[in-house]
Subunit: 442 residues, 2 copies
């Protein structure tokens, strides 16, 4: 904190119970819809986990006057203002200058940043053009957040009892900078809770109001407990916290455990793991391996698993059998079965699951077939009809589902349903194994 | 326009050259990072195509005071204010009331909306709870935008020479409402251009500055031409327009055609089609069929093609061969080749492409293998190394690429490179076919 003004009347965050955060995301590409605003989603999520509800996100053009006016407004209102983008070398990138103007700060050239940028260009064998030196300026009363993944460093300033954090636009530069440098500084100033601000139970297969009804008798025993439900993508999370500090972390954990027990298999995990991560962990623990076969979801199911680091430890592969020939050739689906029941049928789903597990030597086979739309479908199986097929060491099953909505949504929901079903079956298998291992009395 | 105030001094959009649009997106779920702000991306993109740069997007909490203050500010500044979310039946959904308060408008009960909501509940066999009737209120001086895909209708009001558009939050309700109802109304008021405001050339494989150098001699012949470059995901779009109307649409088309010719295969398409859509159209025209084999991209390549409606017309399927066994069993990759060269090699990529095309009976086989990271890799092939393999009616090839970055980015970039290469090879095949068909002289 060596560079902050020693005369400032109020330390950042002093005496605040819930500090106010605002996020300014800069760049015409966001407003033109060329790039999704992933900064809001990511930074909002990070703050949310630590008990902060981001109060406002403003996305605005690269125009200097607009940036100045909005920054002045946010700075007057918030305890912490975070900006993203506009720190690069081109003439569009004027955020640094505009913000310095509003704060009455001088920008000073930092030879250490210059050296870092030059190093990076040398490392990749590129020539550094002079405009890159625009990135070597920092606030006179502020600090530099080094950027190991790009040329533009982040900037940090404390002034007027407030904190300013300026981050570069590319997510792979912004995210580690935020986690490794910004979060510890905000914690130190008391502007962010250390660790997660709540205990989260992640659930699947139960609606929000049913969940509330189920949990209420438990919560009634703990007055002052704060409970928040967050529904997303067909799952509901329940967040427990103790705003007045009445219940220590262990008590909260105990309450969460009571809830989890009430849910049985509808309980997914504590924390923020995805359904596929939970499945992956369980398969790895049990040394079981998975293969998938997809028709209408067309690779999305495989892709969910292969997005996980270390997927090759449990995931053997998948077949996207978009044609009947592919189902016969690669999954050994019998031609007469396809002729009798069609490719969108319970029979075909099960045959696909068994076929892919056998071809790949997997313990679990998971299959999806259906009509994702907008065309296709018939009287018995209209657009939105999905059949799931499952092969496990304990048997084979199918399941029929119906989802309204556009093609992309049907694919997404079918995949979520398939992964959740697999999660339940893996847990059932594991329980059976435990039960079988208990020796009978007498 | 029957419901607007006949005494208002200024018609919306009158005398405006470029009207100012602001977008307010409401909902704590956006600020907590539970739901990405797809409304900004989508509405921003729609306006951008019609020559409007959205000036500002503010995402804020469901708190009434914050909504009122922000709406007042945006309303004072903009010609068109669009809001999304906060129109539903629960007590969080107070946007309608807050906005009515700022505008000094009365909310009136509309029996027609009630009937529509009741119909919808009846259709799905659900019971309508009384709180749903909150959605049946509209502005006394305003209009209703019917919602065929949900219960909450949109609202439209013209006042103070400005336009207010309030849209429901779910994208599958918002998007058709915007396209079918809002756009025609804004066009009629002169607040939105009819049709696209520019001619767009989509390119691949050329950087922005190289593109500029290539095109400049063409553009020099047309003074006053407006040129904008938009880079995204390794592609660059070039948008041509004539702000002073000097060049009619046909002239712009002619200029674009000159640019396209300069680019040869680096030209992708006019307009906004994705690389995979261009490949799909070309394959369907040529009655050719495709199969893909993936290792490190794990289903993402298949998923890009199966996201297209009608994919089954050209896409036979894919194999995600995450293990060596899968490569041998499903793609006929020889064990000795895998032992000699490894799964991440040019030889393996080509074998996968040939194998999947043969198994599925496809004309084109496209394969990806590599190290997406964060672990894996070796001296010769570090993390980020990708091999593409291609089987075409005219031959088989491989190509080596290297991408830095996190796992998800490597997958995404490898898939884009694979699809772009396929696009070029399909076009080369088609040209060869045309050349072959031209009878030799003499």
């Amino acid at each position: 904190m060596a560079h902050t003004d020693p005369n400032k009347p109020q330390a950042p965050g002093a005496g605040k119970s819930s500090p106010r955060y605002e996020l300014l995301t800069l760049g015409d590409e966001l407003l033109l819809g060329l790039t999704p605003n992933s900064h809001l989603t990511w930074i909002g999520g990070q703050l949310g986990r630590r008990g902060i509800l981001l109060q406002r996100n403003v996305t605005l053009t690269d125009e200097a006057d607009a940036i100045a006016a909005q920054f002045r407004e946010s700075w007057a209102r918030a305890d912490v203002v975070i900006t993203t983008g506009g720190l690069g070398p081109t003439c569009d990138d004027r955020t640094r200058e505009v913000v310095a103007g509003v704060l009455g700060q001088e920008l000073v050239f930092d030879p250490a940043i210059e050296a870092q940028i030059a190093d990076r260009f040398a490392k990749f064998g590129r020539k550094m053009t002079p405009n890159n030196l625009r990135q070597a300026f920092k606030f006179a009363r502020g600090e530099v957040l080094p950027n190991p993944n790009g040329t533009a460093p982040g900037l940090w300033a404390e002034q007027d009892g407030r904190v300013l954090v300026m981050l570069p636009g590319p997510p792979n530069e912004l995210q580690p900078m935020f986690t490794e440098q910004v979060v510890p500084r905000l914690e130190k100033l008391g502007l962010l809770a250390r660790g997660e601000a709540y205990i989260q139970l992640r659930t699947a297969g139960v609606g929000e109001s049913a969940l509330e009804t189920k949990f209420q008798p438990v919560f009634d025993k703990y007055p002052g407990l704060s409970i928040a439900y967050c529904a997303h993508l067909g799952q509901v999370d329940c967040r427990l916290s103790s705003p007045d500090g009445r219940y220590p972390s262990e008590t909260l954990q105990g309450i969460a455990a009571q809830c989890a027990e009430l849910l049985d298999l509808d309980f997914v995990c504590y924390g923020h793991d995805s359904l596929e991560q939970v499945v992956a962990d369980e398969l790895r623990t049990q040394h079981r391996r998975l293969a998938v076969a997809e028709s209408c979801t067309g690779g999305l199911l495989s892709n969910k698993f292969t997005d996980l680091c270390g997927a090759s430890k449990f995931f053997l592969g998948g077949v996207v059998s978009y044609s009947n020939d592919a189902k016969m050739q690669l999954l050994d689906c019998p031609e007469c079965m396809l002729a009798q029941h069609g490719a969108v049928s319970a029979e075909c789903a099960v045959a696909m699951a068994i076929g892919v597990a056998e071809q790949m030597g997997a313990d679990f086979g998971l299959a999806v077939t259906g009509f994702a739309g907008p065309t296709g479908g018939n009287g018995e199986n209209p657009v939105g009809t999905i059949y799931l097929g499952m092969h496990t060491p304990g048997g084979d099953w199918s399941r029929k589902l119906t989802y309204p909505g556009p093609r992309g949504a049907v694919k997404e929901r079918a995949v979520t349903a398939a992964i959740d079903w697999l999660r339940r079956e893996i847990l059932r298998e594991a329980r059976k194994a435990v039960t079988a291992a208990i020796p009978l009395r007498n």
